[in-house]
């Protein structure tokens, strides 16, 4: 286990190879294989580390590895005295990290495999670039997971943010993709602002950023039951970061837009792993959060509100990917609800099951979109069950899991959360249960619109190549039948005559929506198996299970009193627990049946409902107008401030410099004038006087030598006369 630090480095090497050499020289097969191999090795190492960890006694399942000094010790004062600010590259393996390692590398590997087929339409360089980013993401995510202190965690944290930025903006020629990437990064940055301040406060309070030392220090401090003290301040700041990364209110707006990225990236980053990093971080600091009950309440409330809000929005969206995105936001809300009520293991368990079923749903959705040649509007799908049986059945498993149907994994984890919420706060439980109903409803709305009923797409469009699409447009013209135009009864028939079978007859290379290659269906099936199996690790005791996950994870949260005491003191009787399970199952089933009833049997209902509550509908469809609100206030405000300050800079600050310049010029002109007219004037006056005077005298100077000679002689005579006679 001393070599756990190699786990992130293997994908890093893959990313470096693909980035430096691959984009220019590697073929598709080599680039894809390299990336998959890197993650596979990381997966193998993770399993090895996991096995090694399990072999240890439960109390000893923490292993820290210090690689090197990152920031060497520098004196810095803290709340107590002058300490040393020092950060090491530390990797820490404990049950929490081990679970996350498996999730990240396991799901990551499957998604890599899926991507090798999904991204085949990309040009060669883009293909390698994509896998470079994916591997880089795995690297940073594993750094995040293995981090032994807050600052190393922050490295992974920002690194996955960078990869998210790059992958969302992967098709950078699309402005919407570039915008979405930027938005994701900036919204995350706002959260990170809080995270950074939290880190600073952690050091100031504890004199260290190391998780182990933090936990020790916190355990010695009293819980802040009433006041909002320093621990609460730390927690709220850290939670701001978590809310940004995990798309919680009010920073959730970036995640739906992030669906601009390629599907495997969305599945890996924006569903399975990165967005749950916030939950992981809160769970990692369980002891800290446990000492700040007020913040825990805030976390729970934010979580449950996010869950509810995202579910309501998901109910009316038509873009299949956006529905899943809101579903992700909603499910992460559940996780925060769990952490908020102190059920850290439930949160992590749900994180894990969610990683499986949401990755499955996303990949299935990718399979659908791939088959539909990029069409993402569910209104234009329908009846795909026939053409894509594997996708349908695996997605159905995923949908049942997210809806919470036993005995799939989602049931166990969600039920655990509801159970703990019930103990903690009945109102939260009520909202969470309502959200569960909505979850089942929107999920089966998606399933129904996509897979059941009749095919509503343009007849020829579900094709891959652009040429075929153009061809398909011709078909559409030849068969101008719209599914909506035909009655319900006609639909089946219509499909048979004008559906993809039509195309088959006309010898098209890829007739209609169909399953992709084994590289696409394989991961789907593997994930479906995972969705079924994973839940049993967390089978609650009420059902006769052992709740292995909880036992395994508990040491990671040891020291957080709520986890232990909450479990011991407030446990409900077995009957009550079973009753709750029954209740949530019934709610889910009700949601599913409602969805089937509304969207399959009475497709007019939603439209009528939307017409009746038009305001409500548009409000939901426009995502509570939060994007508009932010863009009107924060974005516009910033831009306006920027423009205003620039004008200020030019006019006032530089204007002052300019004024100084003009003043100097004016002064110099004035002195020039003084110099020219006054000082120089005096000099000139002297010259002028001399000149005028000389005019008088120069008459004497005739220029005739004889005159001069005459004067000389006369002078001589005069002189001699005086000299000789006048003496």
């Amino acid at each position: 286990m001393d070599y756990i630090w190699l786990i992130p480095l293997v994908p890093a090497a893959g990313a470096a190879l693909n980035g430096l050499l691959g984009i220019r020289w590697f073929g598709r097969a080599l680039a894809g294989a390299l990336a998959c191999a890197a993650v596979a090795v990381a997966l193998g190492l993770s399993i090895w580390a996991f096995v090694g960890l399990v072999a240890l006694p439960p109390d000893a399942r923490v292993h820290d590895v210090v690689l090197a000094a990152w920031i060497p010790a520098i004196p810095l004062e803290t709340a107590a005295d002058i300490g040393m600010f020092s950060v090491n590259w530390t990797a820490r393996l404990d049950p929490l990290a081990a679970i996350m390692l498996l999730v990240v590398t396991g799901v990551g590997f499957l998604i890599h495999v899926y991507a090798t087929a999904y991204m085949l339409d990309e040009p060669r360089g883009g293909y390698a670039r994509f896998f470079c980013y994916l591997n880089l993401f795995c690297f940073f995510m594993l750094v995040l997971v293995l981090a032994g202190n807050l600052l190393v965690l922050f490295v992974g944290w920002e690194g996955v943010g960078l990869c998210s930025y790059l992958l969302i903006g992967f098709w950078y020629e699309k402005n919407s993709a570039a915008d979405a990437g930027k938005k994701a990064f900036l919204v995350n940055r706002i959260g990170d602002w809080g995270f950074l301040l939290g880190i600073f406060l952690v050091f100031f309070t504890f004199g260290s950023l190391d998780f182990r030392e933090m936990a020790t220090a916190v355990a010695a401090m009293p819980r802040e039951r009433t006041g909002f003290g320093v621990l609460s301040a730390i927690c709220i700041l850290l939670f701001a970061g978590a809310a940004g990364k995990s798309a919680q209110i009010p920073l959730h707006i970036w995640l739906p837009d992030a669906m601009e990225g390629p599907m495997p990236a969305s599945a890996l980053i924006h569903a399975a792993t990165m967005v749950t990093a916030g939950v992981y971080m809160v769970a990692r600091n369980a002891v800290l959060f446990d000492h700040a009950p007020l913040v825990m309440q805030i976390v729970a409330v934010v979580g449950v509100l996010t869950a509810l809000m995202a579910a309501t929005i998901g109910l009316v969206q038509n873009d299949i990917k956006r529905v899943l995105a809101y579903s992700t936001v909603s499910q992460i809300g559940y996780m925060f609800l769990a952490t908020g009520v102190g059920a850290f293991t439930a949160a992590v368990f749900h994180l894990m099951t969610h990683a499986f079923f949401k990755a499955l749903l996303f990949l299935g959705c990718g399979s659908v979109i791939h088959a539909m040649a990029g069409q993402q509007d569910m209104q234009c799908m329908g009846g795909l069950r026939k053409y894509m049986p594997v996708t349908f059945s695996t997605m159905l498993i995923g949908a049942f899991a997210i809806a919470g149907i036993p005995p799939l994994s989602g049931f166990f984890s969600k039920d655990e959360i509801l159970y703990r919420a019930f103990i903690g706060n009945r109102i939260l439980w009520g909202i969470a249960t309502a959200t569960a109903l909505l979850t089942a409803l929107y999920m089966f709305r998606l399933m129904t619109l996509t897979f059941s009923g009749g095919y509503r797409g343009p007849q020829g469009s579900p094709l891959a190549s652009p040429a075929a699409v153009a061809e398909a447009a011709l078909h559409g013209a030849r068969h101008p039948h719209d599914a909506h135009a035909h009655g319900e009864a006609d639909r089946e028939n219509h499909e048979v005559t004008h559906g993809p079978a039509d195309l088959l007859r006309e010898d098209h290379a890829r007739p209609g929506p169909s399953e992709g290659s084994p590289a696409i269906t394989g991961p789907l099936m593997a994930l479906a198996v995972g969705v079924i199996v994973v839940g049993f690790f967390g089978m609650p005791e009420a059902l006769g299970g052992t709740n292995a996950i909880e036992r395994f994870l508990t040491p990671s949260f040891a020291g957080s009193a709520g986890v232990l005491t909450g479990h011991a003191d407030a446990a409900l009787s077995r009957v009550a627990a079973l009753g709750l399970m029954l209740c949530s199952t019934l709610v889910s089933v009700a949601g599913i049946l409602l969805a089937r009833h509304v969207y399959l049997r009475n497709p007019e209902w939603p439209r009528q409902l939307a017409a009746r509550w038009h305001g409500m509908y548009t409000f939901l469809l426009n995502k509570y107008y939060l994007d508009e609100l932010y863009s009107a206030t924060v974005v516009r405000g910033t831009i306006a401030a920027a423009r205003g300050l620039f004008a200020f800079d030019r006019r006032v600050v530089d204007g002052a410099v300019g004024a100084l310049r003009w003043l100097t010029l004016l002064a110099s002109w004035l002195s020039h004038m003084f110099d020219k007219h006054v000082l120089d004037g005096l000099v000139k006056l002297v010259g002028w006087t001399a000149g005028r005077a000389s005019f008088v005298v120069r008459r004497l100077q005739t220029g005739l030598v004889q005159n001069y000679a005459l004067v000389i002689v006369l002078g001589l005579f005069a002189f001699l006369t005086v000299f000789l006679f006048a003496r």
Binding site: T702, L704, A709, V713
Partner: protein
């Protein structure tokens, strides 16, 4: 026969000098002015030679020879200037020679 005394020399020289002086001052032809200057110089030479003989001192005669040499040089330069002037102005009238005036 009456012996020639320095007195005679002085009268001769004074007369010669006066003739030269008047010539310089009243004549307008520059060549005549130049010749008049020569007369004045030679008047001086006569004085120098007379007193040299009288006083038995050769220095006076040396001076006289110097003056003859300088007068020759002066006449050459002066005639050169006059010639150059004449080529430009086609006149030797001294009244026309005022171009160097302020």
């Amino acid at each position: 026969m009456m012996p020639i005394t320095p007195y005679h020399y002085l009268v001769l020289a004074a007369a010669l000098f006066a003739i030269g002086l008047v010539g310089v001052m009243v004549r307008r032809n520059i060549i005549i002015v130049l010749m008049s200057i020569e007369l004045m110089l030679n008047a001086v030479n006569i004085n120098l030679a007379a007193f040299s003989y009288q006083l038995h001192d050769a220095a006076g005669q040396v001076f006289a020879i110097f003056i003859v040499a300088v007068a020759a040089a002066e006449a050459a330069v002066g005639l050169g200037i006059i010639l150059a002037f004449f080529r430009n102005k086609e006149t030797v009238n001294i009244d026309d020679m005022n171009i160097m005036r302020w």
